[in-house]
Amino acid sequence: MIDFEEELKRFAPAPEVDQTAETVIGRDMTDLTDLLLQIASQNGGGRA
């Protein structure tokens, strides 16, 4: 049975078009390749 009040709380506001720039800038763009290279660099392997 759905708890409607709890379910409603799950709905978050949607970003509006004029917030696109903030959304893009605030995005964490780190990927696994970055992490890998970072680890390799710390281990003295340097960039592949």
Binding site: I2, F11, P13, P15, E16, V24, D31, L32, T33
Partner: protein, 451 residues
């Protein structure tokens, strides 16, 4: 594993997730596609195709800003030859549409605020307005569906949730709401009502068909709201843009893959043909090899007939020998006879003639053979000498004299190794031979050929 290898693996993993996302998008499993494409970008943020497709999937679920964000990042990373730039250009070209969609997003956010302040009725109105314009705004549809369920408006909830599931059939939130709805008594009532309405409509349609026959000539004026035209045009334009984008990313890769598959099939086909040609070539080479062996075998066989020691030569020799013997020249006939190799010929006539001639010439007589050998040696016919004396040895193997002349004949005939071997045999087998001193002297001379 080196960092480079791991980096390559991550790139391949990113491509694999992209392919999975593409397949999911093609079957409208948009939730699954978002997950796969996000994973693809987590592995490799520079996977342009994955980012562009993720934007399209967001766009299809009404996540306008998320879609635009992905395309902006994509065009920022890859300014050249990027379809995302075209998507953004199209949106900018239809900025009034964009404004309206943004207005819908505002209404959705407004509805959330209204719900917080307990204004549920107003929130429902805001959401109705929102999804009326922004048809594929999934989260607004889900929220409205949930509110209808909460209010017990099962029919409306069903209609809205069906729309949400048409956009993304695999969406777990929509599915959960629908499942919850199906378990209510209201849903069962609604289904019964819908069935009843359908039955009535079918009955009405049957009587309408009858009535139509009577009013076929009557023109019934129609009325349309003037505002409907531009709304329809707007929806049409938006649909066209979305359709074009989905076709580009949903269908084009499949077409490209189809072309690649076709090319791969062609390559496989050519490879098969090449393999067949190779097999044919190998078969032919094998045949050529076999034929070459056959030719060599036949040549060797022919050589036994036509060679210096061949069968034909033996026949000729025997015929000549017979002819010379019949002329009364026994010695010349013997010379010819000892040079015949009877083992090469199995023809009965040959064997019989050979045996007759052997008896007639006294070839089985040691003394005759030995004398003929010594005569041949004295006349410088060393090969003939060897032949006679070998026959003499065959009759009397203990003849050291025969061996002694044979050894000399070899030496004179330019066969020093055979000469040394024969002298050595005399020394070993006949140490008390009268001419052993001469034998040892010749061995000393030919010592270079000693084993």
């Amino acid at each position: 594993m080196s960092a480079q290898t791991a980096q390559e693996k991550l790139h391949r993993l990113s491509l694999a997730y992209y392919n999975e996302g593409l397949e999911q998008a093609r079957v409208r499993n948009l939730t699954g596609a978002v997950g796969s494409l996000q994973m693809s970008l987590r592995c490799d943020k520079y996977n342009k195709d994955a980012r562009n497709l993720l934007g399209l999937v967001y766009f299809a679920t009404g996540e306008l800003v998320s879609a635009v964000s992905e395309w902006v990042i994509s065009t920022d990373e890859f300014p050249e030859d990027n379809i995302a730039a075209e998507y953004l250009a199209r949106l900018q070209k239809h900025d009034s549409w964009l404004d309206r969609m943004n207005g819908c997003i505002r209404k959705y956010n407004q509805a959330l605020r209204q719900l917080e302040s307990g204004e549920e009725d107003v929130a429902v109105l805001s959401l109705k307005s929102c999804v009326g314009t922004f048809k594929n705004f999934l989260r607004a549809l889900q929220l409205l569906g949930l509110l209808y369920m909460k209010r017990g408006e099962t029919g409306r909830a069903l209609k809205i949730l069906k729309r949400a599931l048409e956009i993304d059939p695999g969406n777990p939130v929509s599915q959960r709401y629908m499942q919850e709805l199906k378990e209510t008594e209201g849903y069962r009532r609604e289904i019964r009502r819908v069935r009843r309405d359908k039955r009535r409509a079918a009955e009405a349609s049957a009587s309408e068909t009858e009535a139509d026959a009577y009013r076929a000539d009557v023109i019934i004026p129609t009325y349309r709201e003037t505002g409907m035209l531009w709304k329809m045009a707007l929806v049409l334009v938006a649909g066209l843009i979305l359709g074009a984008m989905i076709i580009y990313y949903g269908v084009m890769p499949e077409i490209v893959r189809g072309v690649k598959r076709e090319a791969a099939d062609t390559v496989i086909s050519y490879n098969s043909k090449l393999a067949m040609k190779d097999a044919e070539r190998e078969g032919l080479e094998f045949e050529v090899s076999q034929l070459t062996q056959d030719v060599e075998k036949l040549t060797a066989e022919l050589e036994t007939y036509t060679g210096d020691d061949g069968i034909i030569r033996n026949y000729n020799q025997l015929l000549e020998c017979v002819a010379v013997y019949l002329d009364g020249n026994d010695l010349a006939a013997m010379d010819l006879f000892v040079d015949i190799d009877p083992s090469l010929v199995t023809y009965e006539g040959f064997t019989r003639t050979y045996a007759s001639l052997e008896r007639a010439l006294g070839i089985g007589d040691y003394g005759r053979m030995y004398q003929a050998g010594v005569t041949a040696y004295a006349s410088g016919r060393h090969e003939v000498c060897i032949a006679y004396l070998k026959r003499a040895l065959a009759i009397a193997p203990d003849s050291a004299d025969a061996l002694y002349y044979i050894a000399h004949a070899y030496e004179k005939n330019g066969q020093p190794q055979e000469a040394w071997d024969t002298y050595d045999r005399i020394k070993r087998d006949f140490p008390a031979y009268a001419k052993i001193g001469e034998v040892e002297a010749r061995l000393a001379v030919l010592r270079d050929y000693a084993h």
